[in-house]
Structures are given as C-alpha cells and as structure tokens.
C-alpha cells in the first residue's frame, strides 16, 4: 500500500492561505507515513502558483485543460479521479471550499476509499489515517479512523500551519485527463458577491452579528464598526436565515470556519453551532445585553449592554484610538 499523500488544489484559488494549510497538513502526514507528497492542481494555474506549490511538494501534476479552468463538478471529479488514481496515495487532502466539499464523497467512492470532512488534525495509527473533527454541533470532539484507502479528507485548512519549503523544486508534469463530452450537471452562471476587503475566512479581525441585531439595516452599523476595525463582517445562522445578510457571511457549523486574531460577537447568543465556527479564533469578545448569554462562556472579554448603545460610541472611540 502506498504511503504517499496527494493534495488537491484548484488553480483558480491560487496558493492561498487555505492551500498553504492543506500543503502543510500534507507534508506532515506524508512524513508520518514515510511517503511523498504530491500536489494535483486542477485547472490552468498562474506561474506564481505553480512555483509556490513546487516549493513545498515532491511532485506537482497540473491538469490544465481549458475545460477545467472554471469549476465544473463532473469534469473536476473525473480529472481528480484519474489523477489520484494514477498516484495511488494513502490519503487525499483537500480544503473546505465548496468545490472540495462537493467532490469529496464521490471521489472517495470512486477511488474505493473513505471520505471525511472538516478535519482539524491528522494522525496515523497502525497504518490507518485518523481524522480529528468537531462533533454534535461543537459539543464534542471525535477522532475517526478511516477504514478504507485512500482516506479522502477535507481539512479546516486555515487551522493548519502553512507548509515549509522543501528546499528543492518539485517536478511539474502536465497531464491530460479524459473528460466526458456530455455532463449531466453544469454550472451555467457564477454570481460573486461584493465583499469589500478581506474575505471572511482570511480576515484577522471579524465582527459578527446575530439574531439580536434585529434587521438588515442595523447591520450597516456593524459594517461601519468593521470598517474602523479593518475587520470583515460575518453573521450567525439566525441572521442569515432572516435574510439580513447573505449566506456567504454565515459563520458556524454550516458556514465559514474562521480563525481571526479577534472575533467580536455582537448580539449573538453563542449557540454551540456558531461557536464551532470560531473555535480557532485567538481571542473572542462579545457585546450582549443578556449577562447569561452563552457567548460569554467562550469570550475573553465582554460588555453587557444593548449593542445599539455600545456600537456608535465604540466606533468613535476606536477611531480616536487608531488614528
């Protein structure tokens, strides 16, 4: 059985923080297995991406057919299946972007392996891959042993340290994969939401709003605060369900998992499913008018007050302090 690790990256993402985390995890796991780490890049990558990946991997396979430039589920699946199949690894690692989430189970099934998602740690025990992840909506932590090979795992990428350069430069091979002519599913349109500034998962400072915000307009006040803090804006599931913010702003079990230096939770009760999404934050603080709110049990500091009374003076004060 192979002891190699394959990491799957999408060219369109570049070698972003998530890719760096996947690479880092891949290197570590390969070391534990005593094998090599191969990178597979789906889609035609930029030069800078290829070199960055080549600096951390043992080999790089580029699948740069033009059909693969934009993500298409069936095409990406077919190409990864072929590429990974050829490499016959013990583990295939991916990030937690939506494309990877979509492909993992099917890729695993086609490779005869075991899928897993949202891994926060990887280990090897008696030749089997073990994945640590949150469970029961954040109330517990589980370690899964993946019984089939290869293990195909989506990682909570930004929680892993970026890969160290190997010191060398991996060989880069362009591989042509067989792509089906007709596909049953096609992405026909991509709507990208305007996000000013840094995307949520990469932001070092994040402001989150919850059910207590009470409406779509009050979120503008939060955006103002975020601007002064140079922070990104996210929300709990309740606020998204109400339609006050788009789903892409959702932080939690079924939203983004963020790892900022500081997360400011405003009018968020602190249910476990939301806290799951911020468990990698270095520090958490909260504004809530309920002293018994759960969020305070996860916060390093907080203020018990109606957020409406706090946010305007807070904006002013922060402006003064940071100017």
């Amino acid at each position: 059985m192979s002891s190699d690790v394959v990491i799957c990256l999408f060219a369109s993402n570049g070698y972003d923080r998530a890719a760096q985390g996947v690479a880092g995890a891949g290197r570590n796991l390969a070391a534990q297995l005593g094998g090599s780490m191969h990178a597979v890049i789906v889609g035609p990558p930029e030069e800078v991406t290829t070199s960055a990946v080549a600096a951390v991997a043992d080999t790089v396979t580029v699948l740069d057919q033009p059909e693969l430039a934009d993500y298409q589920p069936e095409l990406s699946l077919a190409s990864l299946q072929q590429a990974c199949g050829q490499l016959d690894p013990a583990a295939v690692l991916l990030g937690s972007d939506t494309a990877s989430l979509e492909l993992t189970a099917r890729l695993a099934a086609r490779l005869g392996g075991s899928p897993m998602s949202d891994g926060t740690a990887l280990a090897v025990a008696d030749g089997a891959i073990r994945v640590t992840r949150s469970a029961y909506g954040g109330k517990a932590e589980a370690v899964f042993e993946l019984t089939k090979s290869p293990a195909v795992v989506c990682l909570r990428a930004r929680g892993f340290e970026p890969a160290e350069p190997t010191g060398g430069e991996a060989s880069v091979e362009r591989t042509i994969v067989e792509l089906p002519d007709l596909v049953p599913t096609r992405v026909v349109d991509r709507r990208v939401e305007e996000t000013e500034g840094v995307p949520l998962e990469d932001a070092q400072l994040v402001v989150g709003g919850g059910r207590g915000i009470g409406g779509a307009e009050p979120f503008d006040d939060l955006r103002q605060l975020a601007e002064v803090m140079t922070a990104a804006v996210g929300a709990s599931r309740s606020a998204c369900d109400e339609g006050w913010v788009p789903p892409s702003a959702q932080i939690g079990q079924t939203g983004k998992k963020i790892a900022p230096e500081l997360y400011l939770a405003i009018a968020i009760s602190g249910a476990a499913q939301h806290v799951l999404g911020i468990s990698d934050a270095k520090a958490v603080c909260a504004i809530n008018n309920d002293p018994d709110a759960q969020i305070f049990r996860h916060s390093h500091f907080g203020i018990v007050e109606d957020y409406r009374k706090v946010v305007p003076p807070l904006i002013e004060r922060l402006r003064d302090l940071t100017s």
Partner: protein
C-alpha cells in the same frame, strides 16, 4: 416529477451542553432523556421538494433509516403532505456509518421505484460529516450537486441555485440527479396543518427491517475511535466602568490593543 427525500432523526442539537454526555463504550452521545428530532437540513430538503412538487405536480416520497422512533419524523413529513413514506428500522447496534446508510437508502430507494430527483440534507446536526449524500449518489449512480438552496423545474431536469464561498452558482442538472440541500430563507420547513397532523397518523407507512434489505452488515468507511467533550478554559472579563462611556472606552482599548499588535 418523482422526488425522494431522505431524512434522518438525530439527538436534539439544542440539548444543553451541560446535559451532553458521551457514552464511552459506544463512542456516541448518551441518549439519556434527550429528545430526538428531525435533522433541520433534512427538513429544508423536504420543504424544497414539496415546493417543487407543488409547482410541477408529481410526488414526494420520504425515506428514513433509523430506530422505531424515526417514525415520528416520517409522520411529520406526512403531515407536511408528502405523498408516501417509508422507514427502514434497525433497533440496536452501533450507529451506522455513512456508507452503510448510503447502501441502505439506495436499496430502499430502488424498491420504491425510479426517482427523478433525490434530495438530502447537506449534513446532519449530530456528526455533521456530510458525506452520506455523495456516497448515496454513487450507490445510485447519480450525479450530484451540493449545497443547493433553491430548485426550479427546467427542461428535462432542474435549475438549481447553490451557495458557494463567494456567492451563488446557477447549475443546470438533468434528471435523475441527487441534490444536497442547505438552509436559506426560502426553505424554512412549513408548519403542518393540524388536520394533516391528525390524518398523518392514519396514513400508510412502508417499513422494512434492516436485515430484510440484505445490506452487508456494517460495510464501513469510518469508525469513531474517540469521542470526548473538550474542556473549556475561557473566563470572560466583563469590562468595568461607572458609566456606559467608561465601559465602552475600556472595551475599545482592548480591541485597539489587538489591532495594534497586528501591524
């Protein structure tokens, strides 16, 4: 259009953290007195399916694999007006893993006939692994689209909207196809009418036992080897101050400290 919705009954995700206990011998949560509820994403899927049926005609079948108590989920689905419901019962044994579930659901689905669309929730509120949908698609030989929050009929299939990290994609899918559903404003599960609740108890429910389906016992993809409740180590410091201004000032300073440390 024949739609199949697979639904899971889970331990109440709103169980207070202090009541949550791990059964170390089985590596799963202790049932104790906790309630069992339908997984919310399964209900989102059900609502999406019902809206699709209401728009195009056709039928919705609800299918579940669980203990006898899972019947409650299906009775509620019947009260929400699904046309048909079926349950595969397994009373004991460890919690089935994603592959076992996928095989069971696939076997049952084939017994129930051909479907144009299979809808499942993106993940369950208990383990949250979210792989069953994809494995089921492979078992049934269907293409799959994940994280869908809107479905409309289109020529020969569906026009889907799905959530992405950056916004939304519009996806065209030909039937038959499997779709995993995530939550949005538009698929909040409908409230059943009381009369339908009363009728639901009298509607027919197809049941099979796990053994009857002949699925190879516990063909697994994963096994839980450890389950623990992480210790919490955070104590919140509530800012002090005689007035609101003082408190806000203290709070702001702490934030500014973090910001200046980032450079």
């Amino acid at each position: 259009m024949r739609i199949l919705v697979c639904m899971k009954q889970i331990l109440d995700p709103d169980l207070p953290a202090r009541d949550f206990r791990v059964d170390a011998s089985r590596n799963e949560a202790e049932r104790a007195g906790a309630n069992l509820v339908p997984n919310i994403f399964c209900e989102n899927a059900l609502e999406t399916a019902l809206q699709l049926r209401d728009a195009t005609g056709g039928s919705v079948t609800a299918l579940s694999f669980g203990t006898e108590e899972a019947e409650d989920v299906l009775r509620k689905a019947l009260a929400m007006t699904v046309d048909e419901a079926a349950l595969v019962i397994r009373s004991d044994g460890p919690a089935p893993d994603a592959l076992t579930v996928a095989k069971v659901l696939a076997t049952a689905a084939r017994k129930l006939g051909d479907f144009d669309v299979v809808m499942v929730g993106r993940e369950s509120g208990d383990w949250g692994v979210g792989q069953t949908g994809g494995l089921l698609a492979e078992e049934l030989g269907l293409p799959m689209v994940a994280l869908v929050d809107g479905a409309e009929p289109a020529d020969g299939g569906l026009k889907l909207r799905r959530q992405t990290d950056y916004g939304f994609d519009a996806v065209e899918a030909q039937a038959p196809v499997l779709v995993t559903i995530t939550n949005c404003e538009g698929n909040v599960p409908r409230i059943p009418k009381t009369r339908d609740v009363m009728k639901a108890h009298r509607k027919p429910l197809t049941t099979w036992s796990f053994d009857e389906l002949g699925v190879a016992a516990d063909e697994k993809v994963a096994e839980v080897v450890e389950l623990s409740v992480p210790e919490k180590h955070v104590t919140c410091e509530f800012v002090e101050g005689d007035s609101l201004d003082e408190k806000v000032d203290a709070f702001a300073r702490k934030i500014a400290d973090v910001m200046s440390g980032l450079g």
